[in-house]
């Protein structure tokens, strides 16, 4: 536990732009109560000077809610992918290393472009095909058990932790990754969503689909929302296999 007057040591991996080479810069930041990695980055904005006493630019990073529900500030802190807002300095060994995620293109410093996740959501129809936003009365009834199961899956922030940790996901590899597979399950569990279940299962059988999973099970270990990702993958594997068999017999 730090105290007032202490300095906290940081090693931050920086990069001036998408095409330039990364480099490390060290910072010594004054400790404050309840300090997280974000608070340190904010302090660097107020005092953009590195540990060697040289003037530098504020570190560029992405953040928004700062309470681990938006997923924006995901980084690799001391080697582990996580949200930097909930990375409390007092719980981290120093020097604290902060790096951008490695599976996504770096825009600058710690700021990466994760649009691929949202593009992959499109492939599995990660939505309910509603008839429209006009008033059509109540939605379908379903049990509290199913709602609870869906809620657990629906807490996915598309932060990309599971993808960063997955040995089978990355640039140049087609696999869509655990988060997207779990989205397919989320919508297949909904009474109206299930009407399009076969479309999602077909998508999961494509080249970039569920077959890319190598069963490393890293995803479920790093998920900040403890989403049962491996259960989702297992469930979707069974469902796709079943669908494949059924279509075989239908021929």
């Amino acid at each position: 536990m730090g105290k007032l007057g202490d300095q906290v040591q940081f090693k931050i991996k920086r990069q001036a732009g998408p095409e330039t080479a990364p480099y490390w810069e060290e910072f010594s930041v004054r400790w404050e109560p309840m300090m997280n990695v974000i608070a340190a980055l904010m302090e660097i904005q107020r005092h953009p000077v590195n540990a060697a006493g040289q003037k530098t630019t504020p570190v560029v990073y992405s953040s928004n809610c700062l309470e681990e529900v938006c997923g924006a500030c995901t980084m690799v802190v001391n080697g582990r992918v996580r949200q930097s807002c909930s990375a409390l300095v007092d719980q981290l060994a120093q020097p604290i290393t902060v790096e951008p995620m490695s599976k996504f293109p770096v825009v600058r410093d710690l700021y990466v472009e994760r649009q691929r996740i949202f593009e992959d959501f499109k492939k599995v129809n990660a939505w309910i095909d509603t008839d429209g936003s006009h008033n059509l009365g109540p939605g379908p009834r379903y049990s509290a058990e199913v709602a609870d199961m869906r809620y657990a899956l629906s807490r996915c922030m598309a932060c990309g932790c599971c993808l960063e940790a997955c040995p089978n996901y990355g640039p140049g590899i087609p696999f869509i990754g655990a988060a997207t597979v779990s989205q397919a399950r989320l919508f297949n569990l909904h009474p109206s969503g299930s009407m399009k279940a076969s479309v999602r299962l077909d998508a999961l059988q494509a080249e970039d689909g569920i077959g890319g999973c190598g069963n490393a099970q890293n995803c479920v270990q790093v998920c900040p929302k403890e989403i049962p990702l491996t259960t989702s993958i297992g469930d979707m594997m069974r469902a796709t296999t079943k669908q494949a068999f059924q279509s075989l017999f239908r021929r």
């Binding site: 309470e67 681990e68 938006c70 924006a72 409390l88 939505w127 709602a147 922030m157």
Partner: protein, 599 residues
């Protein structure tokens, strides 16, 4: 206008996405601009739920009672017809979200479950665990993604709105926006533009708001002539936890599910909470408000906590802190009903809600005020709409918990179709395409603005100035307000405006230069801070969240009026006028939550 008018929505939270969906459904093309991917917008922070009088519990709840609670909770400052329409639409909004797949918590019969919230005696709040805003946002984001695949919607994520393009007649004809990766300015003509850019909580430095909530878009159009209404009405939420970077909300749902606020009866009692026997605890809200108990409206709960901690020195350990006690509810119930909230406490402060009470204190949370809009949500600039927290419309002087999610979505459902009517109607048709001279001129102007920002030199650091502004605003323009302090604060803000001109550009990078963007946002925050402070200074009464000890009563004769601020470029300050409030449906009455107040 062209055969197929294009529309622009700035902001991808609940209000913006609801607007997008309505426009796309009407068969039109719409571009949505957002600093962050829509799915990461501030709406995710809403925890407790969304109000709608569905009456699942058979308590006799109705939209009429919801309407009365909302108007009364807002201390009669809201124009009533739109509030009534919102409350009537609210059950339908909840059903719509359910149809979109929001995993609402359910009853044993499989219906949507409802919980209690502040300022009402009914179970009226539908919820998805305790991350309801996140869940609603995802549902709308998914529907918009569907429209994106259908080719109706283009997303401009990691873009910032920097300028509204106004023609010689003052009509809004499009926007200039900055690509935040490549730092390139681009011009986007549009038949109508909506701002759905959220509140200005970041003006207060640390608040429960997200990083993007600087109010910069609202401040920009205010400087271009839009009226800003009721800016002085800032909600301070009673229960939040401290942090070095922000203050984190501990949702009202914790009390809706049975949480109790208390302090030790003995000042400075050093015992641990669980060692303090029941009869030595002061359940301050339950004693004073036997009917609403811990669920009085937020302005009232916040003032009681301030009174206890700041004036009576009764805070836990003599500090700015009271207990929010859930221990009697049990681990299973707490995790199931409010797991998402207590998780935040556990991660950021440490401690389990079922073992010991949480320690909380009020924090700036929401702006009831915002851009003035008509009942169609158009601002006083034709062609420019405002929806969601950035508008002023539904909450009067104080917002009831769980009314923000419904007002955000409802305003989009109203605003979107109104934009289509405007663009496809006579006015829009007659406007035709904006001229290239107009568009190029706007681009040049912004290139000059950002060019100049990139050359700023001087001793000041914009992030330091912001921190000072936040500190002073939190100290003097929140729960308890004194005219002399507000006057002094306004002087300081003007001083910081001078300092701002001597800010140094911290970064000359060509990629994702956040410092340049922030420097302009800071100016906009200073401009909005003056609107808040001047509005508070001139309003010599106490109403809802606005409390002046020197004027402790509500004064309907003088101040049952909407504050309207318009920007004066000469002073950078607001010119303030007042507008009558439409109270045609419910006659204003004294607002009392003690004893046997209204049911």
């Amino acid at each position: 206008m062209a055969d197929r008018p294009r529309f622009i929505v700035v902001g991808g939270g609940l209000a913006g996405l609801a607007t997008v969906i309505k426009i796309a459904e009407a068969g039109h093309d719409v571009d949505v601009f957002s600093f962050v991917p829509c799915r990461r917008s501030h709406s995710v922070c809403a925890q407790g739920g969304i109000n709608g009088a569905v009456n699942t519990k058979g308590e006799g709840d109705s939209p009429a009672i919801h309407f009365d609670d909302t108007v009364y909770g807002g201390d009669f400052l809201a124009d009533q017809p739109p509030v009534k329409a919102m409350c009537e639409a609210a059950p339908g909004v909840i059903y719509l979200l359910d149809r979109m797949g929001v995993p609402f918590s359910r009853t044993p019969e499989g219906l949507i479950d409802f919980r209690r919230f502040g300022g009402t005696l009914h179970h009226r709040t539908a919820f998805a665990g305790a991350t309801t805003g996140q869940q609603l946002l995802y549902a709308l984001d998914e529907q918009v993604r569907r429209w994106e695949v259908a080719g109706r919607v283009r997303r401009f994520e990691h873009w910032e709105f920097v300028h509204a393009i106004l023609d010689d007649n003052g009509n809004c004809r499009g926007i200039v926006a900055m690509d935040l990766h490549a730092m390139k300015l681009e011009v986007f003509p549009a038949a109508a533009v909506a701002l759905a850019t959220g509140g200005p909580g970041i003006v207060y430095g640390k608040s429960t708001n997200s990083v993007v909530n600087t109010g910069t878009a609202a401040a920009l159009v205010y400087q271009q002539g839009a009226s800003y209404a009721n800016g002085e009405f800032i909600q301070v939420h009673p229960t939040a936890i401290p942090g070095a970077d922000k203050l984190r909300l501990m949702s009202e749902s914790l009390r809706g599910e049975g949480g109790r606020l208390w302090v030790p009866k003995k000042k400075g009692d050093a015992r641990r909470a669980k060692d303090i026997p029941e009869n030595e605890r002061y359940y301050f809200l339950e004693e004073k408000y036997p009917k609403y108990k811990n669920l009085v409206p937020r302005d009232i709960a916040t003032r009681e906590i301030f009174e206890l901690c700041r004036r009576q020195g009764m805070g836990v350990g003599g500090k700015d802190s009271v207990y929010l006690d859930l221990t009697h509810l049990g681990e299973e119930y707490i995790k199931r009903k409010v797991g998402g909230v207590v998780e935040i406490y556990e991660k950021f402060i440490g401690g389990k809600a079922w073992e010991e009470p949480l320690q909380v204190f009020p924090a700036v949370h929401y702006s009831m005020g915002g851009l003035w809009v008509d009942y169609d949500h158009m601002t006083n600039i034709p062609g420019l709409w405002a929806v969601g927290e950035v508008d002023f419309a539904y909450h009067g002087a104080n917002r009831l918990g769980a009314n923000s999610l419904v007002s955000c979505i409802y305003s989009g459902l109203v605003g979107g179709p109104a934009m289509v009517r405007y663009a496809t109607g006579k006015v829009g048709q007659e406007l035709g395409e904006p001229s290239s001279v107009l568009l190029d001129g706007a681009r040049t102007k912004m290139e000059e603005t950002y060019g100049a920002l990139g050359k700023m030199e001087g001793p000041h650091n914009p992030y330091q100035l912001w921190w000072q502004l936040g500190d002073e605003m939190t100290g003097k323009a929140t729960v308890v307000r004194y005219s002399n302090e507000l006057q002094e604060l306004d002087g300081k803000i003007q001083g910081w405006m001078e300092d701002w001109k001597k800010c140094s550009v911290l970064d000359t990078g060509k990629s994702a230069n956040q410092a340049i963007m922030f420097t302009r946002q800071l100016w906009n925050m200073l401009v909005l801070a003056r609107v808040i402070v001047q509005g508070a200074l001139l309003r010599d009464e106490s109403r809802g969240s606005h409390f002046k000890p020197d004027f402790p009563e509500r004064n309907d004769e003088k101040f049952l009026k909407t504050t309207l601020a318009s920007y004066d470029p000469a002073t950078h300050g607001p010119k303030i006028t007042y507008k009558e409030v439409d109270t045609s449906l419910i006659k204003p009455r004294k607002r009392v939550y003690t004893g046997e107040a209204k049911a």
